[in-house]
Structure formats: structure tokens, C-alpha cells
Amino acid sequence: MIDDFPQFLVSALYIVRGTGWTAALILGAMSLGLLVGMPLAALQVYGPKPLRAPLAAYVWFFRGVPILVLLYLVYFGLFTYAQGPFEGFSWARSAFSPFSASLVALGLTSGAYQSQIFRGAILSLPEGQYRAAMALGFTRFGAVTRIVLPQAARLSIPAWSNEYSILLKDSAIAYVLGTSEIMNRARSIAFLSNRILTFFLLAGILYLLLTWLGVRALRALERRLAIPGLGQGEA
């Protein structure tokens, strides 16, 4: 079908433009994961005891259910019911789109994983700093948000860049809902054109590029936020 170069170029560009959707998807999912994971971790360590079991259950659920199952559950389950009352509103179509379903499923899963990253970081901090903050008259909330979390976030960046690359690769599965990201576009072009190898190779390169960029950006962030005199000579 695609025999001439211009048409090849158009097809390739179509896939490349999926990069924007993939990037938006993982940035959104990472952010949602951060929003969920950070309080989850803080509450698991410092929160009231009765809350800890339900929080652990959340983590257990999202770590245990395959992302593919979650995508279907969110899109065909949660979104179908949630959409009901808003039928007819112009914004409802985009709000309950495959893209947002993918973002929610990936974000909630990432939240579970990120909470474990932050939890480890919080537990690795010297406990005395929390006590010192309490001794100065901070509330528990103040001590956690002002003293504990800023340091835990810094310690989390290396593990976070790992989470980023995993999430990026997981995001390819979002094609099953018809999210217009790299994988979905590569798939349709590849099978239409019968140049399967070429276009999936292109998709692979795009994912590699995104991984490389993200990891580099996070390493730069880590260096920028490094605390002078601390952790020098360590990896």
C-alpha cells in the first residue's frame, strides 16, 4: 500500500505524533501516581492505625491485578457507570475517553508502586528529625509535610526514574482501548502497510528515546536538588 517515499514519510510522522499522546499519558499518570502515592506512603508510616489496613489493601490490589485487566475495569466498568449522569454534556465524551481511562488505570497503579518507593525513603530517614520537629511544636502533619517528605522525595528520585521507564512501557498496552498513542498508531500503520518490521522498529525507537529523555531529566533534577555535603561519593 505504501510504496512511495512521501507516503512512507506521512505514515512515519503519524506514528511520531503519537509520541505526544504517550508523553501526555505517562506525565499524567506519573502525576496522578505522585498525588496518590505520596499521601499513601505518609499515611502508612505516620497515619492513624485503623487507616493502615485499607491503604495496604489498595497497594495489594493494584500491584496484583494486571494492567490490561485494570484498563478494561476502568473503561468499561467505572467509566460506563460514572458517565451515566453526565450523558449529553459536551465535555463528557472527552472526560470519559479511552485516554483518560488509560491515564486513571496507569496512574492508580503507579500510585501503588510510588507509595512503596516513598515509604522506603521515609523509613530510611533518621527518625530523630521527625521527633525534633515535634519537639519544636510542629503538628504531625507539619512535621511530615515540611521535614519528612521534602527529604523523602529527594531520596526517591532514582527509584522514580525506574518507575518512569516501567510506566512508559506499560503505557503501550493502552492501545487496546484505542488511545491514540505510539503503539496504537504503529499497529494500525504496520498492519495496513504490511511493513510490520519497519514501523514497530520505529515505535521501539520512539519508546527508547522517551526513556532516555526522561531518565536524563530525572538525573538532572536529582543533581539540582542534591543537598550540599550530603551523600557525596555515593552513587
Partner: protein
Amino acid sequence: MAGPMARGAPDGAPLLEVRGISKSMGGKLLLDDVSLSLSRGELKVLIGPSGGGKSTLLQCVHFLTIPDKGDVLLDGESAREMGKRNICLFRQEIGMIFQDFNLFDHLTARDNVAVALRRVKRLRKAEAHGRALAELERVGLGDKAGLYPAQLSGGQKQRVSIARALAMDPKVMLLDEPTSALDPELIGEVLNVIQSLYEGGMTMLMVTHQVGFARHITKEILFMEDGRITERGSPEDLLAEGSLSRAGAFCSKLSEVTGR
């Protein structure tokens, strides 16, 4: 804040009163009905073997650890009656110095001192920073304000932590072995700061193994063992040559080891 003139004035109620505090953890009785009191401007020294409950006592006086029984009164105000919501206000009025400093690693010396002024006392930024610099000057670290804890020596860290406590205008300071984690040559600078606080009229309860310092600065030593204060008295009485007190035996054993 009381001036030096107020020291030891027998004018009735003590500034800090610890009434019959008991605390168990993990089935072990750590504090057994401990009582003590401090008048304005007074400094008392707690000594005793490790595991005897000294640190737990300070934590309980501060209500950082809630005692099972007993109460702490600061200027007549009961910590028990403040309840969970207001206990932060009680804690603000008592400064705590820890053995291993517990500075906030992500903040400069200045911000270590300023952070509670801003977030707890709600001072404006400029005001908090000004106060923080003044407190750092007071402990001789005005030129280190921009450095992070990891860039300071142990003695400097402990002085920052003292400045951090002072900035909150505490009525009482609790010092939990403030020099135990320091290299020997750095102990002096911290003890000097404590000495000048005492001379300025600060009320203090200090756990220390610096027998020489304790001997010359305090009028009353409390000896703690197995969760109880078993002996109390002046350094002359307890630590005199040939004294039969447990405290005397303990301190001479300490001096044998440290040579002080």
C-alpha cells in the same frame, strides 16, 4: 524571660514540675513514679547508667512520649489537661536538645532555625530569617548561616540545634547528653554555650556524663537508675571523695574511663 536575679528565688511555685511520671514500653517499666521540679533559672543534672530511664524521662517531660501516669506542669499549666490538640503549644515552650543533633538535613543552618518560626509561630519570612541569624550569632555561628548540616562539624551542628531551640523562646530547655556524640576537642564549645545560657537565666534539665562540668555548674544532681531517681543532692555531697553514694561510685568510674 527571667533574668539572673530571679535564680533560685524561693517565691513559691516551681517553673517546671514533674509529678509522679511512670512509663512502660514493651512490658518493661522504664519510669517508675518519677517526680522533680525546677525553679526559674535553675539547672539540674541527671546522671546514671544507660538504660536507667534518663532519655525516656526527658521525652516524657516534653510529652513527646506520653507517660502512662503522672503529669508535667509548666508555669502551672498541666500538659495532661492541654489534650491532644494543644499539646503542640505545650511542646513549643520546652526546648529539646538531642544527643545526635537531629538537624533537618535538607535545610541550611539558618533555615533549620527559621523553619519552626515560620511554620509553627507563623512569623513572616524576613522576620523569621532575622531572628534565626540573631540566634546563630548568639551561639557563635553567624558566619555559617548558609551552610547545610552535612557541611558543619559536630560541635557546630549541636550549636545550631541549640539556636533552633532558643529561637522558640522556650521557658525550659531539656538537654539529652548534648556532648556525647562529639569528638573530645569539640565538647568545650558546646559546654561554653550551655554555660552562657545558664548565666543568662535559662532553666535547664541536663543529662550528661561530663562530671567535671556538672560539678561546677549545678547545685543539685539527680542520680537515676532502673527508672527511679534514687539519689539527689549537691555535687559536694554526692561526689565528694570517699562518698558512699551510688552517684559518687558511678562518677568516679566515669572519670577513670575518660580521665576527666
